[in-house]
């Protein structure tokens, strides 16, 4: 530690937690295409969603107000880990020999170990306010299920999580953590629901899928008046809640007088990336700064770089509203890569729209390059990044090495979505040389998107 340079961690006081979420819809030159009813293809209204979501969240889904106040009760829980630290990656810079100045916003300090509680907490809060007694949800690798379980415990809600069977069996630590926070967790397909029983009758050994798990969670919520459903990404209100990440980062960069040249984050459904990027897009649209904003997705699930921008369902069964988004087709099943949180066929409609407007760019990375960047980062900075986050780090390392060539001292801001303590098995596979790279071909994309709904 030397007194003549900015600190390693740029921290904020608890009183500097943002009091408002930022809504990008207010500042876009044009609004994104609206969601449509899955059967009628007509515009959907609040009533179509009220069986699953409380009115406060439905309003946040459609509002075009620039800011939404964060309730005191939510701020009170946020204070357990927010403001999250922004780190200057001095040691990674030195290891790379780059003149770039690298900052990373670390969301792994939360109770679930990722950015997910930023939206799980308000979702639980608004449901509790609406008199709901129980929330249901699906989870893949388990980050979202952990976040919702924790959040429900804070507001006295019951929580039931359907976890994709393959992950349920392969990652027992996540299951235990979800149970510690007081939630019920079931492997999906389960005999509890009609959807689950139908699958099990045909395939007793089904490994499950996110699509099946969504169907089970939605079914239980739709059938019980005291039960709602919660989603961890994709929807506007989820992205809205995540903007605390970018708002804090703006404050933190201002404290060290930095203006970013590049913002990078990983994208699966798009919530971590949007949470960091949207407040910067506000600044960019207002002409106050002009960073490149780059989404990084897995080469095996490249919705933004290779998918079609079209109306599609959010789930495999076709029960959700139709959303205009970058998609590989709702029946597409991504390869079993280790970044489970990025294995989604579509991309958040609002984020897809910013791509169409030219506000963001996207690249795809194979998982070995990502884990290699994750290893470099861990040795230098002492933090094991989540496999999802390594995608952002791979793009960061690439840019930093480019700066080494050109001599440009670019300011790079990286979204570190979470820690990888419960994903160390993936690093074990990397160290053992067992990781396989899957790059989705144009032909495979064409086949996967051939049966998109015709709107």
């Amino acid at each position: 530690m030397t007194d003549d340079r900015p600190p390693t961690k740029i921290t904020l006081a608890e009183s500097e937690i943002p009091r408002r979420w930022y809504n990008l819809l207010a500042d876009l030159p044009q609004l994104p295409p609206p969601p449509l009813h899955p059967a009628t293809h007509q515009l959907i209204g609040p009533d179509d969603l009220s069986a699953l979501f409380p009115m406060a969240l439905i309003e946040q889904e459609v509002t075009t107000e620039r800011y939404v106040d964060i309730p005191d009760e939510v701020l009170d829980v946020y204070a357990l880990w927010r403001p999250s630290p922004l780190y200057r990656a001095y040691r990674l810079e030195r290891a790379l020999g780059t003149p770039a100045r690298i900052y990373y916003k670390h969301e792994g300090v939360s109770p679930a170990g990722s950015h997910k509680p930023n939206t799980a907490v308000p979702q639980a809060y608004y449901n509790a306010q609406a008199g709901i007694r129980r929330l249901t949800t699906e989870t893949g690798a388990g980050q979202w299920g952990t976040a919702l379980a924790f959040s429900c415990a804070q507001f006295g809600l019951d929580c039931e999580v359907w976890q994709v069977r393959a992950s349920y069996d392969a990652k027992p630590y996540r299951k235990i953590m979800i149970e510690m926070f007081g939630a019920q967790i079931y492997p999906s397909p389960s005999p509890i629901t009609e959807s689950g029983r139908r699958i099990l009758a045909e395939h007793p050994d089904s490994p499950g899928s996110l699509g099946i798990a969504i169907s089970e969670a939605v079914e239980v919520a739709a059938q019980n008046a005291d039960t709602n459903y919660a989603l961890g990404s994709v929807l506007n209100h989820v992205l809205l809640h995540q903007t605390v990440i970018g708002e804090e980062t703006l404050l933190q960069l201002a404290k060290v007088n930095e203006t970013p040249d590049l913002i990078v984050g990983c994208t699966g459904g798009g919530s971590n990336f949007s949470g960091l990027a949207f407040p910067f897009l506000r600044e960019k649209l207002a002409g106050r700064m002009n960073p490149t904003v780059r989404a990084v997705e897995p080469a095996s699930c490249p919705s933004l770089t290779k998918g079609k921008y079209a109306y599609d369902f959010g789930d495999v069964a076709g029960m959700t509203p139709l959303m205009k988004m970058h998609t590989l087709g709702h029946t597409f099943i991504p390869d079993a890569i280790h970044a489970g949180g990025l294995r989604y066929h579509g991309m958040a409609p609002l984020l897809s729209h910013t791509k169409e407007l030219g506000l963001i760019e996207a690249v795809a990375k194979t998982q070995r390059e990502c884990f290699e960047a994750g290893m470099r980062f861990a040795r230098a900075e002492g933090i094991v990044p989540a496999p999802e986050s390594t995608h952002a780090l791979a793009a960061c390392v690439e840019e930093a090495l480019r700066c080494k060539e050109t001599g440009e001292p670019k300011v790079i801001v990286v979204a570190l979505s979470g820690h990888g303590h419960l994903d160390l098995g993936s690093y074990g596979s990397y160290l053992a040389g067992d990781l396989v790279d899957h790059e989705l071909s144009e032909e495979a994309v064409a086949a996967a998107t051939a049966s998109l709904p015709v709107i």
Copy 2:
């Protein structure tokens, strides 16, 4: 979050990281009995230790100066996670319904997930300064091995870790993390050393022990001039390095105008507890405050509450210097409880001495009571505590519930030694009802301490 109460996290600026370690030896009314040579029983000198440790650490082991300056290079690495946050446990207080005000000092934010890097970093630094190329060590559950691997990576040292075979097989995540930080890790007993080969010849399937692993690590260090050995607890210089915990906590409590009534921490070798407690003992000895200082140990390995205060070896083989400490006998093998970091037959000599002087008190807890407290804490505060830390939490909960009876608004400060992300299997056993309580009987203690060396 409300503006009319102190914050949830009491944080310090990076510039407030302590610049000096505190040495309790300077303030004690009498010095502890000195270590003795294992063979001659004479006082040992610096030369007896120089095959294993660099002179800077040997000097810190014996100095009676009140403060030791922390090198800039060490502060620079500390800045990755220090100052660590002190939390006000508002949600735990509410869950317990106690008038007590509970604070916990969270060392789980470090690269290894515990307090261990506080000493691993300076140990690696001083060895690198002395021209050493490689450090060897043993590890049980893996916290110490992870910390040393990370620290060696920061100063360009090779690192070799012998991990007790049973843990090596049972906790593969720890092994992967140690390898990520660039260290070599071997299951112990290993065929690499004479000590290991001797055991393997007799017991090819030996599950290993900390004593065997120490022998292997020491053997390699003693035989190679460019190689030293590092120990993660027990010794004076280790406890010295850990005092950054207590120094920060004093600053943090001062910011919210609190004076502690009770300090609690878990004790295995004693380093986390001493790190928090020693600066408070300085204040107590100077009459500036008068907290009760309470060590909490497992009922299955109760060195402070049931052990003898006597000269004993630090390892099973009897190769280390003889140290006057509370001990269950160096041949004692504790039951296989889940708090692996507390399974040590002895207690740090300096901490044992403070117990003899009446400066601290000690209690023992069974593991089910500890895990129950850990579960309560996790649900309320969103942090999964390490099994070791749950011992401190069990004593905290006990005191907080006593306050509920009496109405006393006591200020309790808890040492949270680390997070339990890599120990979730232990919580799984708790949730499944599989945990067994082992309470060591007086008869078993008498048997275990019957063959202590006669000095």
